[in-house]
């Protein structure tokens, strides 16, 4: 018995260094908007380079940037620009690469869309999030109380949306009824309601979660790739990955892959606008 335990112990002790030589594990964290691109690319990259493992986790752009500040991830993902405070903390330690562009769509439940709300002006959206407009009837929709979904403050989508609609990235939204986190959570909340409004990257739209055109009258613009490309959609943004300047060379190679034609193809397949 003792012998077995000793042997097992020895096996672990001697095997551990060999295991760690077998490959390198990189960790990517942050925006759940950037996540699908990075995780698909990570799978393909791993097939081509079996010694590199890339684990990918979400948390939001704020988490991605914080993990670069604290050095807890090799690759940070962000769906918004780094703000002044964060830049001061990063102190030039990271390189930022823009890998894609997308639109932050203003989404509504299918019932609302079918009920007549096909477009909203920025003022109307702001009034809804400020709690001034409470019923869909006031904006040409069905007679139903508006279920306003806000996002965690750390989320890049929230940042970009609030800046464009409410005028400040961290503005309060007193009209909000609930706070959601990842894109998946937001998508499922909107899909399960028949009176919801929320904010989501254009790649998350589907039959139950409809994006409305933003703007007034005939000038309203749909949140799709075409209008991100020509710059006419008012709430569009760049998607970034970040690398520590002193980080592993394998991480740098992976980011180069994201920017290569093969990587940009993944961007396109994920529903975003490629940058190259």
């Amino acid at each position: 018995m003792h012998k077995t335990v000793a042997m097992l112990f020895a096996a672990i002790v001697f095997a551990a260094p060999t295991l760690s030589h077998a490959g390198i594990t990189l960790h990517a964290a942050g925006s759940t908007t950037v996540l699908p691109v990075v995780s698909t690319a990570a799978n393909i990259w791993h097939q081509q380079h079996p010694h590199v493992n890339i684990t990918v986790s979400g948390g939001g752009s704020g988490v991605g940037i914080a993990s670069m500040i604290q050095g807890t991830a090799d690759i940070g993902m962000a769906s918004r620009e780094i703000d002044a405070q964060e830049a001061a903390k990063l102190n030039g330690k990271v390189d930022v690469f823009t890998i894609a562009k997308d639109a932050v769509a203003v989404v509504v439940s299918k019932a609302v869309y079918v009920g007549g709300v096909h477009q909203l002006s920025l003022q109307q959206i702001a009034a809804i999030y400020r709690g001034k407009i409470k019923n869909w009837r006031e904006v040409g929709g069905p007679d139903a109380q508006i279920f306003v979904i806000d996002k965690e403050a750390s989320r890049g989508t929230r940042h970009v949306f609030a800046e464009a609609v409410l005028g400040d990235a961290h503005a309060r939204a007193p009209g909000a009824a609930v706070i959601s986190g990842s894109n998946n959570e937001e998508q499922s909340l909107v899909a399960h309601s028949d009176s919801a409004i929320g904010m989501l990257s254009n790649a998350w739209l589907n039959d139950a979660v409809r994006g409305v055109a933003v703007g007034q009258g005939n000038a309203a613009v749909l949140p799709d790739i075409q209008h991100v490309r020509d710059g006419s959609y008012p709430i569009s943004r760049s998607l970034h990955v970040m690398l520590a300047k002193k980080g592993a060379s394998e991480a740098r190679d992976f980011v180069a892959f994201l920017l290569s034609p093969a990587g940009q193809k993944i961007v396109k397949q994920s529903g975003y606008l490629p940058v190259r």
Binding site: G59, A66, E152, A153, I179
Partner: protein, 277 residues
């Protein structure tokens, strides 16, 4: 040798508790110094405006745990009485195994079940804008703490001496009298430990609550309105700790939430360990 080992373990356990409390206290100190204990009674939590009021989350944690107890305690005790006293042996084992299984399910699974089943149900039956609220959190928690209370209550009922039961029978007491006068009073210390242990879990549960409570840092209006999205201390930490950079005031305020929870849980455990009321 064994003696030494045991002493060392006790010491390590004690040290771990003290270290944890010390860490929480040290990390939350900047917050307490800058804002003072008065923040416990402030309702405004807007980290980007440097407002860190604790009250919405404290109220939320309190209600969620209370609802869980109100539902779980009577049901768990009733189930324990039923299974130890009235059911045939084979069923008893089955029920206990079921309860132990229930206790072993990861909390995120409870959370997802809540998200997919409980929230739509609450939303449609109560005709609410959303099912995310304290009632949902409390219902989910009651399911999660039920096994703890029931298993502890079963054990406590088992401990009631045969002689006591026989004395009751010999005195011609009927079943109700025996239950209320002999079984439950005798088993009470064990049941009470189970309840307090479960309360600790209810207060500390994060994942499941975070998914169903709505994470809205707002005091319910009126404060006993359990049908609007709210916040608990744990869900707040879970949602925000990732972005709060280490050493910032936001981080410190979240550690203060952690300290409050730790102190609540520790006082509960101390209560649980007192032998007599």
């Amino acid at each position: 040798m064994l003696n030494l080992w045991m002493r060392a373990s006790v010491l390590i356990a004690l040290l771990a508790v003290l270290l944890m409390l010390g860490f929480l206290f040290a990390q939350s100190w900047p917050y307490w110094r800058a804002y003072g204990v008065g923040m416990l009674f402030s309702g405004e939590w807007y980290p980007y405006e440097r407002l860190f009021g604790m009250l919405p989350a404290i109220i939320g944690s309190f209600w969620a745990a209370l609802i869980a107890l109100v539902i779980a305690v009577p049901s768990a005790i009733a189930a324990a009485v039923l299974s130890t006293e009235l059911m045939p042996g084979a069923w008893r084992g089955l029920l206990r195994t079921g309860m132990e299984l229930l206790a072993g399910i990861p909390s995120v699974v409870y959370g997802l079940i809540g998200l997919w089943v409980l929230l739509p149900f609450l939303q449609s039956t109560l005709n609410l804008l959303t099912g995310h609220n304290l009632l949902a959190a409390g219902l989910l928690l009651s399911l999660m703490i039920l096994p703890t209370i029931m298993v502890m209550a079963q054990d406590a009922l088992h401990e009631v001496q045969i002689s006591q039961r026989e004395a009751g029978l010999n005195l011609g007491m009927d079943w109700h009298t025996r239950l209320w006068r002999i079984l439950l009073p005798q088993a009470w210390p064990g049941i009470r430990s189970g309840i307090l242990l479960a309360l600790g879990r209810a207060l500390g549960e994060t994942m499941a609550v975070m998914l169903v409570v709505g994470s809205m840092d707002r005091i319910p209006q009126p404060f006993y309105n359990l049908l609007v999205p709210a916040q608990t201390l744990t869900a707040r930490i879970g949602r925000e700790i990732g972005e709060a950079s280490f050493g910032s005031m936001h981080f410190s305020a979240l550690m203060a939430c952690g300290l409050l929870l730790a102190m609540a849980t520790i006082s509960i455990s101390l209560l649980a360990n007192r032998k007599h009321v």
